[in-house]
């Protein structure tokens, strides 16, 4: 799954709006997702295909309905790649601080 596809999928306000809607309420049908949007049903279908191709949206059949779910895993992989090491740095800094403070107590 290419990271380019994820960035391309996210580089569009309409697609981010669809992701926001799934983030608020996960597992929606195409009909539900279209409600109250200025986009045509065809446009939503096209955007969903791009989001699914990037694996940030996953669809599943449930009975007669096809439900769409937000999949946070690829976005998390991106965060890990560029942010993970900063979190690690903070943890190391905290450990150093603790060591220093505890040494002062003695």
């Amino acid at each position: 799954m290419s990271m380019d596809a994820v960035f391309r999928a996210l580089a569009d306000a309409s697609r981010r709006q669809l992701l926001d809607r799934l983030h608020n309420k996960n597992g929606q049908t195409l009909g539900e997702l279209c409600e109250g949007l200025a986009m045509s049903r065809q446009a939503v279908t096209k955007h969903l295909a791009i989001l699914e191709n990037a694996n940030v949206v996953v669809s599943k059949r449930q009975g007669r309905e096809k439900l769409h779910f937000i999949n946070p895993v690829p976005i998390h992989d991106i965060a890990e790649r560029w942010i993970g090491k900063f979190e690690r740095g903070r943890l190391v800094a905290l450990a150093d601080l603790k060591r220093k403070l505890e040494r002062e107590e003695k």
Binding site: F69, V73, H76
Partner: protein, 151 residues
């Protein structure tokens, strides 16, 4: 009504290696915040998720098992009373080959609408899956995967 979360990741590995990574305690420990799971891995067997100090985090049962394709667990939180009260959830692992990669789908469902337990129990899923992918593809887990998030 129910609450469902779906997670999908693609991992460059074999069906058997992925299956082992999901069911072998010493393997699980490497990518699951130092936690591990215990079960005899057969239908009807009990299942447990343990903290590194041995305390029980979650309990459940193997509902369905078809190595190396599908695993269905009954999964209930055990250490937070407000989540325990929401009752068990159902967690389905589907492993599919897609060319030279494996597609792993986790579908985690509670019969309750807006269940907190799903968000809490599965709150760490993206981290767990990133770390699992990293471990299988590079031999190293994610550095930030050593502790379970404060849930």
């Amino acid at each position: 009504m129910s609450t469902t979360f779906v997670y999908v990741t693609y991992i460059r590995t074999t069906p058997q290696k992925l299956w082992d990574a999901l069911t072998k305690p010493e393997f699980i420990k490497q990518y699951w915040f130092n936690m591990t799971q215990q079960s005899e891995w057969k239908t009807g067997a009990s299942w447990k998720m343990l903290f590194s100090d041995g305390r029980v985090a979650d309990v459940g049962e193997v509902l369905e098992i078809d190595p190396p394709r599908r695993l269905v667990l009954k999964w209930a939180n055990e250490f937070r009373p407000e989540l325990k009260d929401e009752g068990p959830t159902r967690c389905v692992y589907d492993l599919e080959q897609d060319g030279d990669v494996m597609r792993l789908t986790i579908t985690h469902t509670s019969e309750r609408d807006g269940a907190k337990v799903i968000e809490a129990v599965s709150g760490g899923w993206p981290r767990v899956l990133s770390s699992l992918k990293s471990l299988l593809e590079t031999g190293k887990p994610m550095p930030s995967s050593h502790n379970r998030p404060a849930t």
